[in-house]
């Protein structure tokens, strides 16, 4: 127990890094995922094909492999650098590339399935009463699609928080790798340290789950 109290600043620092990884890659994958979803539902076969290829490749590759590719392949071999002197900043951004590339494939699928849950009749009815394309999208389709997407996006974000630990594969000192280091430093306090870190993840994910669950229930579309 003392070990956890003594190392509290270190532990909080590790979780701060976890939060930064989650927020930055979450925002990037939301934007990029929506772009991909737009490509996959567009009327142009080229864009649909490119989107489908991206999603199927990224979704079926292990995240660890993607992050290793970013860290060693892009970072070491291709010499992609974000900072000349700060190595940890470099691997931080490289792991964000990997996390965003992976998560955006799932965001794309969630958004696309959200659009697909809106029945065709809704759009036909909207056109029948004379709404333009943009009005149909803005007033009829998106309000229904966004609501069905909230709960799955919530569980994606939840999964992303846990997935940031994979950045440990290229030496980013987030929660999991820091926990391993503390195990090495305090061999007699392994269980309290583990429970402390586990509690940290519960604290990060629980409010998010409750919020997205409640929002999804409140906004559910009755069909």
């Amino acid at each position: 127990m003392e070990a956890v109290v003594d190392e509290l600043p270190v532990i909080l620092g590790a979780f701060w890094l976890t939060v930064k990884l989650t927020v930055v890659s979450g925002v990037i994958s939301l934007v990029w995922g929506i772009v991909l979803a737009a490509m996959r539902v567009s009327p142009l076969p080229v864009l649909r094909g490119a989107g489908a290829l991206y999603v199927n490749v990224l979704r079926n590759t292990p995240l660890t492999l993607i992050i290793v590719f970013c860290g060693l392949g892009l970072g070491t071999v291709m010499n992609v650098q974000f900072s000349r002197d700060d190595l940890s900043l470099n691997s931080f951004w490289l792991s964000i590339i990997g996390l965003s590339a992976y998560t955006s494939a799932f965001v794309c699928e969630v958004v696309r399935s959200g659009i697909n849950t809106v029945p065709l009749g809704q759009a036909e009815a909207a056109r029948a009463i004379g709404l333009t394309f943009l009005q149909t999208l803005r007033l009829v389709i998106l309000p229904q699609a966004v609501r069905t997407v909230i709960a799955p996006l919530g569980s994606l974000l939840n999964a992303l928080v846990k997935n940031t630990t994979v950045a440990a594969a290229i030496g980013v000192m987030e929660a999991a790798l820091r926990m391993k280091n503390l195990f090495d430093a305090h061999g007699d306090a392994i269980i309290p340290i583990f429970l402390g870190f586990a509690a940290g993840f519960v604290v990060l994910t629980l409010p998010m789950n409750l919020l997205s669950g409640r929002l999804a229930r409140r906004l559910a579309v009755v069909r």
């Binding site: 009327p43 142009l44 076969p45 080229v46 864009l47 490119a50 199927n56 490749v57 979704r59 079926n60 590759t61 292990p62 995240l63 660890t64 492999l65 290793v68 590719f69 060693l72 392949g73 070491t76 071999v77 291709m78 799932f106 969630v110 659009i115 697909n116 809106v118 029945p119 065709l120 809704q122 759009a123 036909e124 394309f133 389709i141 709960a151 799955p152 569980s155 994606l156 939840n158 999964a159 846990k162 997935n163 630990t165 994979v166 440990a168 594969a169 929660a175 999991a176 391993k180 195990f183 061999g187 392994i190 269980i191 583990f194 870190f197 586990a198 993840f201 519960v202 994910t205 629980l206």
Partner: protein, 292 residues
């Protein structure tokens, strides 16, 4: 009557829209080609398309000596963890539905706790916690432990949701003809629930297979280890090697994915299934089908 090719977003294109679509197809096609060309030249500048980096993958011994042993280790860890996780999931899923509070609540706590903790942390904990208890924990055992308890907890939710998705009348009818509680579960609920759960279970097993790659972090000699450490150590070809290994993973996962789709279609066709597969999957948190 809805026309073919119509979606909720746009009508079937008429002559003018077709012309515009063709022009846009050409424009975006050029843009995509430019992006591909840019990536190609960047890798080319570093000599990543050199024949000598790719040559090793045309030789049989690279595969038999370096890659296949890794693939076998990946499949072994996945198979053992899958069996254990299914057992874990069945036990805790059913325990969460128990009539006895002293069974139900601890089971719920275990499932919810393990679902919240990242697999990598569980793997580290198995290594250090095991040696604290005086056990010799191999990398294999640590990876299997982490994959089992995490995926087992997710499977427990799938099992619970699958059983709950069987209409109540089934269990009531079973009790009415005098079956005991365990007979109702064993003879009536589980057989119907399992068919409904099948697609969700297979998707979760794909997640499990992909997560075996976490063994790389603790130096378990799996497929990713072969592709990112062993082969590059011999031929200094990290990027080609990781690309080839990714193709192997994608092929395996796509095959399992098709199996899941096929099972889903089959169970949807079958009239014997009373429970709705989609309900089983959605009730398990939706993460099942998503983060695979």
């Amino acid at each position: 009557m809805t026309e073919r090719g119509a979606t909720v977003l746009y009508d079937v294109p008429g002559p003018r829209a077709r012309l515009r679509n063709n022009a846009l197809t050409l424009a975006f096609g050029v843009v995509l080609l430019l992006v591909a060309y840019f990536v190609w030249t960047k890798f080319d500048e570093k000599g990543q398309w050199d024949g000598k980096l790719w040559q090793p993958f045309l030789r049989a011994d690279t595969w038999t000596e370096l890659i296949l042993p890794g693939l076998l280790n990946t499949l072994a860890a996945a198979a053992v963890a899958a069996v254990l996780a299914l057992l874990f999931g069945a036990v805790f899923g059913i325990a969460r539905l128990s009539d006895h509070r002293w069974v139900r609540i601890p089971a719920a706590v275990v499932v919810e706790a393990f679902r919240a903790v990242p697999v990598l942390m569980l793997i580290f904990f198995a290594q250090y916690g095991g040696s604290l208890a005086g056990l010799v924990v191999t990398e294999f055992a640590a990876v299997v432990f982490g994959l089992t308890v995490y995926n087992g907890s997710v499977l427990a939710e799938i099992v619970r949701a699958g059983i709950l998705a069987v209409p109540r009348g089934q269990a009531e009818a079973g009790s009415a003809i005098g079956l005991r509680k365990n007979q109702v579960m064993r003879l009536i609920l589980l057989p119907q629930a399992v068919t409904a759960m099948m697609p969700a279970i297979v998707s979760q097993l794909v997640v499990l297979l992909k997560d075996t790659a976490l063994g790389f972090v603790v130096a378990y000699a799996d497929l990713l280890n072969a592709g990112a450490r062993v082969v590059p150590a011999n031929y200094a070809n990290l990027i080609p090697s990781v690309i080839v290994i990714a193709a192997v993973y994608i092929a395996i996962n796509l095959a399992l994915g098709y199996l899941a789709t096929w099972l889903e279609r089959r169970s949807r066709r079958s009239r014997k299934v009373a429970a709705d597969p989609a309900a089983a999957e959605a009730a398990a948190g939706g993460e099942v089908a998503l983060m695979r």
